[in-house]
């Protein structure tokens, strides 16, 4: 799976995209900050592979959560990083997450998926297969 993700990334780079599924049209998810949202069916225990569970829940150094805590836009000292159920209403949260969810639905994505936006560019697609592949998407957008 790791090699498949790497091949997909290389194909995307070779085809002229900076990232697979990068949205170049405006400010992905708005808000002017780096935000990450992962949507998965929380009541379905088979929704995630063991490697994807590590993406979503690991708090170890070098994990996706650790990266997001350090790099996501801060709101009252809390990073704008969400792990959400598809049924969670978002009308009480930051509008950027609603925008990301609507973009995912427009794209026909089914959970589990990941949305990353930095106010200029973004990535929207199926949840990567493992932490390494997820960070390969997160880091370029997070460092802009």
């Amino acid at each position: 799976m790791k090699s498949l993700a790497s091949i997909m990334l290389l194909v995307a780079l070779a085809s002229g995209c900076v990232m697979p599924n990068v949205n170049h049209s405006g400010n992905p998810f708005g808000g002017g900050g780096y935000r990450v949202m992962i949507v998965h069916e929380s009541g379905d225990l088979d929704d995630l592979t063991p490697e994807q569970e590590v993406i979503v829940f690991s708090t170890a150094a070098g994990s996706v959560r650790h990266y997001c805590e350090l790099h996501c836009a801060q709101n009252n000292n809390d990073p704008d990083f969400r792990i959400l159920d598809p049924d969670s209403p978002l009308d009480r949260d930051d509008p950027c997450f609603t925008k990301a969810k609507l973009a995912a639905e427009k794209k026909g994505l089914k959970p589990p998926y990941m949305a990353v936006g930095n106010g200029r560019r973004g990535w929207l697609g199926p949840l990567p297969p493992d932490t390494q592949a997820a960070l390969a998407i997160l880091k370029p957008l997070g460092s802009e």
Binding site: S42, G43, F57, S58, A60, D85, R92
Partner: protein, 281 residues
């Protein structure tokens, strides 16, 4: 592996928790939770499996894992630092001598679910749940009732309603509007005393409020702990961070129960309202 200084409570030392040694296991009078909001009950209240309003019964969504499967998952969750207790980075609730463990345990589980969802930490008020249920009396009760209230109404922030203020004066228009920011959206009914169902929930990172008749207390389960050949239950209490061990984030309230002490009335809490819960202007 245990946290530094973490204590295991089992048949040999459970009296440390209940104080008077009067328990079913000790041959004394059963220490049942209180029913009827003030009237001691003569038998434990056990909600019939499947009877919790709005709950999905365990068997309709999950397959109970074997002990070996639970052991393997527990070890893996510890290795990847992805247990519920690894994700908790906020202080324990402090019921501070009130009889509201049955609200503190459920509200604590909601706070844990918010943390797992990456939502901003917001301290939530157990008194804003128990007060309206009991008519603002400081009495014992049932986690299922707190669950029902939170799923229908929500919880107010501690900022607006202090955690242990069992007083109706806090039920203002602003507070009523705040309740809906903190509701439970999905919950699962588990069979009473079914430890394998409890552990199956915990190794899937679903916090489980657990009412224990032998303790006369409700706490919430976080993790499965592998200790030699035994499987144990890590809980989080509501007696302030001073009680129990601290996790890697330095927040306390953690202890471990042996299997024989892990049996109780239980349900799993999963999805909660996604709200930024902006601070009051």
């Amino acid at each position: 592996m245990l946290y530094h200084g973490e204590q295991i409570f089992g048949d040999h030392n459970f009296r440390q928790l209940i104080g008077n040694g009067r328990s079913v296991m000790a041959g004394g009078e059963p220490r049942y939770l209180v029913d009827g909001y003030g009237e001691p009950c003569s038998k434990p209240r056990v909600s019939a499996y499947g009877s919790i309003q709005g709950a999905t019964p365990f068997h309709e969504r999950f397959t109970v894992l074997s002990r070996e499967e639970i052991r393997e998952r527990a070890i893996d969750l510890e290795r990847t630092e992805s247990r519920v207790s690894d994700l908790i980075n906020f202080s324990s609730k402090d019921q501070n001598g009130t009889s509201y463990c049955w609200n503190n345990g459920v509200v604590g589980a909601v706070e844990a679910c918010r943390e797992m969802a990456g939502l901003p930490y917001v301290s939530l008020s157990p008194a804003s749940v128990g007060g309206p249920i009991t008519g603002y009396r400081n009495v014992g009760g049932w986690g299922e009732d707190a669950l029902k209230y939170i799923s229908e109404n929500g919880i107010a922030r501690s900022e607006l309603w202090p955690d242990n203020a069992i007083e109706p004066k806090y039920m203002t228009a602003e507070v009523k509007a705040d309740y809906e920011n903190h509701q439970i959206l999905e919950w699962f009914d588990l069979e009473t005393d079914n430890v394998l169902q409890l552990w199956t929930m915990l190794v899937h990172r679903i916090p489980v409020p657990l009412g224990l008749n032998w303790w006369g207390h409700l706490i919430y389960g976080c993790d499965v702990v592998v200790q030699g050949n035994s499987l144990l239950t890590r809980i989080r209490n509501s007696w302030n961070d001073i009680w129990g061990a601290k996790n890697k984030h330095g927040v306390g309230g953690f202890g471990v129960l042996e299997e024989s002490r892990s049996r109780g009335s239980q349900f799993g809490v999963r999805a909660v309202t996604a709200s930024r819960s902006k601070r009051a202007a």
